[in-house]
């Protein structure tokens, strides 16, 4: 006899909750729209992080570099050279991809802590360049007057429209991640995470697949970086600093590393919790920290792991 699938029910419930949250924000408007827009952008960034860390089992502290590269290209091309955002974005993503290839090729020979250090350096170097190359980036001052996403006359000025657009990109990003994971390509990545030796022995070209995962991760980061500058209308080095990496890590682990929807859950929780605790004033950060710890105590594999809480229905 087939048992009812509680796990699937939990997953649908969580996803419905997320969708309801976005719908509620769209209807009610106000500050919640801004919070959720940032959450959507961060979710896209974290989906990319999940690709490299969750599926392929590697580690990177430097994905903010790719967000910064794409974000700055978008900012400079639109604000200084009057490019259309929709054209500037692919240019930024393209440059991020090139850098990911060039950096990834040598760096991905490293593993574990060494890979973590090398990628951390990548993020720090990008940050320094953003600070020092003042003729291009205007240093700490940053670049303002970046137009919102749009084509020609049709520009997304209304925050509601922007959130809708971000949601659409997020859904596509999730769908793409899902399809990539559930494929020959995704199987190879998960195999590398499970046992690199066994993956090799089965004929998987491990360095090539690691590089591919790194580049895909960079594409997600780059999309998030570009969306960020067009959404905020301003960019400075701080936007893509180490805090972005830390936020991404929190979202990844709170949401559930290695799961498709983990980044979405994580991004929403980590973005919304501080707002929930705003009334605590001075103790806001404390309450936020306690909440995160409690989540990780009771759902150590992240919120997405709640979808495998029930034992699988067994035949016989």
């Amino acid at each position: 006899m087939q048992q009812p699938n509680y796990n699937r029910a939990v997953r649908y419930f969580l996803l419905l909750l997320c969708a309801a949250l976005f719908v509620f924000a769209l209807l009610s408007g106000g500050y919640l729209i801004t919070v959720l827009s940032f959450a959507a952008i961060y979710a896209i960034f974290t989906i990319g992080l999940n690709f490299f860390m969750g599926y392929a089992g590697q580690v990177t502290f430097g994905q903010n570099a790719f967000a910064a590269i794409s974000g700055y290209v978008s900012a400079i091309l639109t604000a200084n050279y009057n490019w259309e955002p929709i054209v500037a974005m692919p240019a930024g993503i393209g440059l991020a991809v090139i850098v990911a290839f060039v950096v990834g090729y040598p760096v991905l020979r490293l593993r574990g802590h060494y890979l973590a250090m090398a990628t951390l350096a990548l993020g720090l170097i990008t940050y320094e360049i953003a600070v020092e190359w003042q003729t291009l980036t205007q240093g700490y001052m940053g670049i303002s007057g970046i137009p919102p996403i749009g084509i020609g006359q049709w520009v997304l000025v209304d925050p509601r429209e922007q959130l809708l657009f971000l949601c659409a990109v997020l859904v596509i990003a999730l769908l793409a991640a899902y399809r990539l994971k559930e494929s020959r390509f995704g199987n190879a990545l998960v195999a590398i995470a499970g046992s690199e030796e066994a993956a090799k022995a089965l004929g998987i070209n491990v360095p090539r697949y690691k590089l591919a995962a790194f580049v895909i991760s960079a594409v997600y980061a780059a999309i998030a970086g570009s969306l960020m500058v067009h959404f905020v209308g301003f960019v400075s080095p701080e936007v893509f600093g180490l805090n972005m990496v830390i936020a991404g890590f929190m979202m990844l682990y709170v949401g559930g590393i290695g799961s498709i929807f983990g980044p979405l859950f994580g991004a929403l929780i980590v973005s919304l919790l501080p707002e929930v605790f705003r009334g605590f004033k001075d103790y806001q950060d404390l309450a936020f920290g306690v909440a995160l710890i409690l989540i990780l105590i009771f759902a150590p594999k992240g919120v997405a792991s709640l979808t495998s809480l029930f034992p699988k229905g067994r035949r016989n």
């Binding site: 793409a176 399809r179 020959r184 995470a193 066994a198 022995a201 089965l202 998987i204 290695g258 699988k312």
Partner: protein, 255 residues
């Protein structure tokens, strides 16, 4: 016709010679075995054959083609696939998904076909799953397809590793101590599976401690001791060889 040929293969680690000038040939369509006491260099030799280690000297040729120094994945792509002494499964995946990964070389498609998920890649996914189910049946894990690899018993994990290796459709399968940790019943089942594998046209080379298994299934036995080949022949010949008796029964060693 020989499927695998080793010529003067030597592997040194610093001052230690783990494999010392070893020559042998493995015939296609047979079960061959490498035996020897602990520390005889069997696993090192396996690592050299499968490309995990480059030999210090000598050549390995597979199907008449030199494969010495090729990366592991390329060796596997040529049809020489190994399992591990310590089972190396993908613990987070189900048994079925483990075998699915094994079909990597037997399928095509990268990022684009995954994203657009066209008809060909959907059909291929179905074929891969069908084949994976067939292989699980083949090794006797048909009813365990959706169980997590980490939840299988040790004996089942060993069999799963064999099924996964078979999914690559190898010409020569290297099994590193497949019977280690199995009980008599499981070992008997393994012997039957190995027999079936050879019957289907895949040659098998095993490293094994379990003498009864080797004597039952192998047509050819190669004996290593302290990295050197000390004997080779049929199981009966090897059993009577004075060098082998020495090595196994603890005769006086002359270093």
């Amino acid at each position: 016709m020989n499927i695998l040929k080793l010529t003067n293969v030597t592997k040194q680690f610093g001052g230690l010679t783990a494999v010392d000038n070893v020559d042998f040939e493995i015939e296609a369509g047979e079960v061959s075995a490498i035996i020897g006491p602990n520390g005889a260099g069997k696993t090192t030799l396996f690592n050299v054959i499968s490309g995990f280690l480059a030999p210090t000297a000598g050549t390995v040729s597979f199907n008449g083609e030199t494969i010495t120094g090729l990366p592991v994945a390329q060796v596997a792509a040529k049809g020489l696939v190994r399992t591990f002494q310590l089972v190396q499964l993908f613990p987070d995946l189900t048994a079925l998904a483990n075998v699915r990964v094994g079909s990597h070389l037997q399928s095509v498609g990268g990022i684009w076909s995954a994203l657009i998920r066209n008809r060909r890649s959907r059909e291929q996914a179905l074929q891969v799953d069908e084949n994976a189910h067939r292989l699980l049946e083949f090794v006797g894990l048909g009813d365990r397809a959706h169980v997590g690899a980490a939840e299988l018993t040790y004996g089942q994990q060993r069999l799963l590793e064999v099924a996964r290796a078979l999914a690559t459709n190898p010409k020569l399968l290297l099994l590193d101590e497949p019977a280690a940790g199995l009980n008599t019943q499981e070992t008997a089942h393994l012997a039957k599976v190995i027999g079936d594998i050879v019957a289907q046209g895949t040659s098998v080379l095993i490293i094994e401690h379990d003498m009864s298994l080797v004597m039952d299934i192998a047509q050819k036995v190669i004996v290593l001791d302290f990295g050197k080949k000390i004997a080779q022949g049929t199981p009966l010949e090897v059993q009577k060889d004075p060098h082998v008796l020495d090595a196994y029964l603890g005769g006086v060693e002359y270093a």
